[in-house]
Symmetry: C2
Subunit: 528 residues, 2 copies
């Protein structure tokens, strides 16, 4: 049941004066529930509870954390159609997408449960003492990852489940042993509250400390700002725009005690079309990219907004086919009138650039809040000279840069801002021939795809979802996959600690049976 | 031979107008060589060369990087007494310390050589494709760590070798595949140039690209500021004061493209004395701590500046013994007149606090630039209410906080800023009895020592040298040990990449024979 209230730890609370509603973009009407924005007192209380909960939660066993995470996953499924219906009414996205994203969210929670239950993720490292070493004895040193403290997670507009309330950031933080305070996204506050109710129920049912999770409503930027500046908050997870992410990063960096912000932000996900690779499968790539560009109304962070090719008949032919395919696709609904508005505005701004040619611009009638897809072209020199063209147009919009030769193509790549992904359409031989172009592309992105599309972020250990700024605020971490837990932990060493007083992960007898680096060797063995 | 010039890549250069000399604090005279500060043009050239060198250095094999690192180590040893003499003349430290630090520096370089030669450090992770998975095929994903780009390393005043020119930050960055630009520390520019000459010679001899290493002289803060703001610089390593480290952190955070700064800064390294542990070995701990507090004239970052105990006869007796031991120690020379000056000033500022009682203050005559050690006491309530007393007095100064009970002791601990280390003098039973105090202490530090001293930072995989702010700017990394390489790398994923075109680390046949996570299992095996 949606109450419109905040969860301050396990308690529903609504002390604030500011209220708002979510919006159904498909029906173009406000949804029924009224949400009450968290007050300063509620923010303080959630932070104090999180700090108190951290004292015990930070050392709760992997088994117990796994039970908690699995209970959240089960609870989300138990919400049934109420969750799916709320999701659809707050996003305009179809039921299949809602169910798919729910499946991914549950999978992520269960994956982290498996990870902490197994236990090796703490990267235990043990160097035993050498008391007879000269000139100085070597002490016994044992290291493992420990949680950094309460984390604030910002819900993402475009993924109400997988990147929001109990999404990847939250699952990773809880798995690490960090309490979580969610800054609920105003566009899907109802979805958020339902998921939050499942997390709170799971926390209670599995005996987690009160305050391990809170969910705060917000209609503007104030609640998020206050949370990031709160002294009890020790880290921030964010998925959204460059402007939003950078603002939070700046606030966190200006604190007396700066804290890490992992913000996954904008990306135009360049696709490099090398001539022979393109020539081989023009029709296939045209159809595939028409779908990738318009998938989810272009609202994926890995949407291919930029195609880079070499001028010539093959590229012209491909562009024409792609235009034909794109124009055939039925426009779909965006998440919110504000997002459609921003899309139309940014698209217009791009189309105003004299160097840009429009090759496809859907001009049929569309329902309210539906986005008209567009495909444009520009020559390499103009692209290089016009920073406006480097900016993301969030939505089903793509630009083909027609470079005069491989050298210009490489220059274009090296001048791009950091990106989540780079894709290469090429033959094997072309990759071998253009080594420096490959290096340049790798240097700008977090993930490189060969003869495919960037949309679709597989949740697995080998995924990197991140990249050089502004794809993320810290390229040294990933937002997806088990290693995303590293954002919320720090190494900690015990020196000459009595064996019986060490955490289980570091005891000689290795009671958890985890993999450890012992005197430089990776092993599951005990220490005699 | 010392020329006083900068190394811009492999070339000696001296275009600037600003000159300075280093100082021999023992003789209280300037040293003979004149150093020419790097000009803006030289900074730009070093950065451009580093960016160019990165294009090839980033993919040079582990074997070749190992050869380079070992050549640096050999070259440093080949400098022989010229290096040791210069070191001593620029620091006032004794020859034994110089040789010990050289040994550590060489050990660090060789340790990183072994690490990259073996190769598993890249944390390779492979998830093979499942083309038949429904509803979507699973792509092939392969991830490994790659270098982030040119790194600026700031030399540390207190460790001219181990934390400076070719110290831990440089060794880790070069091992990662990142070119390094050193901002030489003005107090030991001659030592820096000699070591730089060994690095440049090693780079040439082993065929590394020009620009993989530069060494820039500086007398003030401008060269460092310009480097941190330079667009081609992608990361910063710093060891020094909170003021200096924070200033660089702020500059880096304010860039258009923010970059990571790992600054290891101040720490007062609290030592918690629990009653029964203290009672057992009062004499031993008094002698041990008198030595630890005055070791290297208190100029170690892990110097124990704060002892926390419970009021009572045992603590009083220990304090008296410690005072007796400390006063016996012969004062020694500090690194530079400025450092002695800062020590005397900060000590006076502390001694002016009315709540502070002096129990030992060396008042014998001392030679120029020698520091008079001091020991003081204060009650817990006064310490809690006076932030001045929480500040580091860099040098042989320590304060004993006499808490009225365990509860107040825990409050004191929880109010401390972040620290590199925390030490516990206790019996096993006391650790078990005071679990929440242990948690509080762990939460403030990067390393916890049982019945020992914090001075002495063992270089091994299980060491954490870092901690919550302001011990470091990012507690998620360590400055010492092989895992310090993680500061300079980022995860990178290849999706559906042809096996033959992958880096060796990710190929099916595992030609390097490294340990990898393959479909969730850690293995050295090939993939069939």
């Amino acid at each position: 049941m949606i109450t419109g209230k905040n969860y301050i730890g396990n308690r529903l609370s609504a002390l604030g004066n500011k209220t708002y509603r979510t919006f159904n973009p498909k029906l173009n009407i406000e949804n029924e529930h009224t949400f009450i924005e968290a007050s300063q007192d509620e923010i303080d209380e959630a932070a104090a509870l999180a700090a108190e909960a951290f004292k015990t939660f930070r050392t709760i066993s992997g088994d117990r954390k796994a039970t908690f995470l699995r209970a959240i996953a089960d609870g989300i499924l138990d919400l049934g159609d109420a969750l799916i219906d709320t999701y659809c009414s707050e996003t305009g996205l179809p039921k299949g997408r809602a169910e798919g994203e729910r499946g991914r969210t549950v999978f992520q929670l269960r994956t982290f449960a498996d990870l902490v239950e197994e236990g090796s993720w703490v990267e235990a490292s043990i160097d035993t003492a050498l008391p007879d070493r000269t000139p100085m004895p070597k002490p016994d040193l044992r290291k493992m990852s420990i949680p950094i403290g309460p984390i604030v997670v910002f819900g993402a507009s475009n993924f109400p489940l997988a990147y929001s309330t109990a999404g990847g950031d939250t699952a990773a933080a809880l798995a690490a042993g960090c309490p979580v305070i969610v800054k609920s996204h105003p566009m899907h506050a109802g979805t958020g509250e339902l998921v939050a109710s499942a997390v709170v129920k799971a926390a209670k049912d599995t005996g987690m400390p009160n305050g391990v999770f809170s969910n705060l409503n917000s209609s503007g930027i104030e609640v998020g700002q206050q949370l990031v500046q709160h002294p009890e908050v020790k880290g921030v997870g964010f998925t959204g725009s460059i402007r939003g992410g950078r603002a939070l990063y700046d606030l966190a960096a200006q604190r007396d005690e700066p804290i890490p912000v992992f913000a996954e932000m904008g990306s135009i996900n360049p696709v490099v079309l090398l001539p022979r690779g393109l020539k081989k499968d023009k029709d296939k790539w045209a159809a595939t990219y028409a779908n990738s560009i318009t998938l989810g109304t272009g609202q994926f962070c890995t949407n291919p907004g930029l195609l880079l090719g070499i001028k010539g008949d093959d590229l012209d032919e491909f562009v024409q086919k792609l235009a034909d395919e794109i124009i055939k696709i039925e426009p779909s609904c965006m998440l919110h009138p504000n997002i459609v508005g921003a899309y139309e505005k940014n698209k217009s701004k791009a189309l105003e650039q004299p160097a840009l040619s429009v090759v496809a611009d859907y001009d049929g009638g569309v329902a309210e809040n539906h986005a008209r897809q567009a495909l444009t072209t520009v020559d390499g020199a103009s692209f290089l000279n016009n920073p406006t063209l480097h900016q993301e147009v969030f939505g089903p919009f793509s630009m083909v840069v027609q470079c005069k030769d491989v050298k210009e193509l490489e220059t274009v790549i090296s001048k791009l801002e950091g990106q989540l992904t780079g894709t290469l359409i090429a033959t094997d031989d072309e990759v071998k021939e253009h080594r420096s172009l490959m290096e340049a592309l790798q240097n700008r992105v977090g993930r490189i795809i060969f003869n495919g599309v960037p949309t679709g972020v597989e949740v697995c250990p080998s995924m990197t979802h991140g990249g050089p700024y502004p794809a993320s605020t810290d390229s040294r971490f990933t937002a997806v996959g088990i290693h995303s837990i590293k954002r919320w932990v720090r190494p900690f060493s015990f020196q000459d600690w009595p064996n019986g007083l060490l955490p289980d992960e570091l005891k000689n007898e290795n009671p958890l049976g985890i993999g450890r680096l012992v005197n430089g060797e990776w092993t599951h063995a005990k220490i005699r």
